[in-house]
Symmetry: C2
Subunit: 231 residues, 2 copies
């Protein structure tokens, strides 16, 4: 029966993992608050709402743990954060995460904060600022919109990475030809400019189009503009 038991455990884990992935696709909410009761309140709330939730009691714990906890979980994410924490404050977390912030909007929560903190939070790119007492529906609305923003940013980012990967496949010569194509040159003109035979231009152009997944000039131009090859 030992075998059977182990099998069941594996099954459960698999289910749990699958479930977590499904939830994560809806959203991952990171919470940072030093009050244990508040943390568990948030955890309950967001879990009930169908999100994945990770709560931390300190900025350090958040910074260290967030990647490990959300390992293998893909999905839009945001951070709910009390500005006034002992030790490192929410504003410090903002700085620590830096560019990651674009993918993970910060929602600050505060009851006793000064205007200075609010201003600073916004200046550093904070997404929203909620003042206590917290209205649950307002909180959920804010979280939802933050997750939408995060999702959009992730999509854009992924799209850009995809395009740039394609551009990287191009050889030097192919890139040079395409660049001139995008400047409006005809093949004979490119042939003159690069001092290569017309047939060679055509070959490079053809290969580049294939690598960029473009069936025609219009698609090529679109792709190029999005990935900004021209620069």
């Amino acid at each position: 029966m030992n075998q059977s038991t182990m099998f069941n455990v594996t099954e459960l884990r698999a289910t749990s993992q699958a479930q977590a992935e499904q939830r994560a696709a809806k959203g991952i909410v990171f919470v940072l608050d030093d009050d244990p009761s508040i943390r568990s309140s948030y955890e309950r709330l967001f879990t009930l709402e169908g999100f994945v939730c990770f709560a931390y009691d300190s900025a350090e714990a958040l910074i260290t743990g967030r990647t490990i906890d959300a390992e293998r979980l893909n999905g839009p994410r945001c951070l709910l954060c009390d500005v006034s924490l002992p030790g490192k404050s929410g504003l410090d977390v903002q700085e620590a995460l830096g560019s990651e912030q674009a993918m993970m909007p910060f929602i600050f929560i505060s009851g006793v904060s000064s205007e200075v903190e609010v201003v600073q939070a916004y200046r550093k790119g904070g997404y929203a600022f909620l003042l206590k007492p917290i209205d649950i529906s307002e909180l959920l609305a804010t979280v939802s919109s933050a997750l939408v923003l995060s999702g959009n940013r992730q999509q854009e980012s992924a799209e850009l990475a995809r395009l740039q990967a394609m551009v990287m496949q191009l050889t030097e010569r192919e890139r040079a030809v395409i660049k001139l194509v995008l400047e409006g040159c005809t093949n004979p003109q490119i042939s003159d400019r690069l001092r290569i035979a017309l047939r060679t231009v055509k070959v490079h152009r053809q290969h580049a189009m294939q690598k960029l997944g473009a069936k025609n000039l219009v698609e090529l131009t679109r792709t190029a503009l999005r990935s900004s090859i021209l620069c």
Copy 2:
């Protein structure tokens, strides 16, 4: 000598107008504050800095007077505004100007405001929030960046208007042809789809390219993407 005097006056006015236009090109700063001494301080400051400055004592005066005052003056603009005013507040002005806000960033100034006001100002799209005591260099830096933003927005807006004006010149048929071109169709394919002769497609395409100021397909695609004809 009467003639001469009048001539001189006209000259002066002309010069003044030219000067104002030159200043306006650098920036127009609207100021809203109920304290006369503060208003004149700002006016002096911004005039010295080479901007055009219009100061108002009430939201109503600003809303009524801004277009009249800045008549014929083109240039980036921003609004410096005290949140806590008697009567209509700075936040109300924000609402009153609505979409105009995009072209004219709001900079709020406050010493005694609550966090609630700060949050509201940002939520409504305020550009920045400065807390008293005001640091002059910080103020000027904020105004400068707001003016840059305003200038960029105006340029984008003008560019879009220009493109859309060109698109409007197209006849129904020309638009239809170009739309298919942008979907990647070749002329023969368009000929089939629209059930018109190949020569007709070419004529429409040619006319459309001229009206859109595009010398080749690449330029056409660029123009189309920017003006979003496809939608």
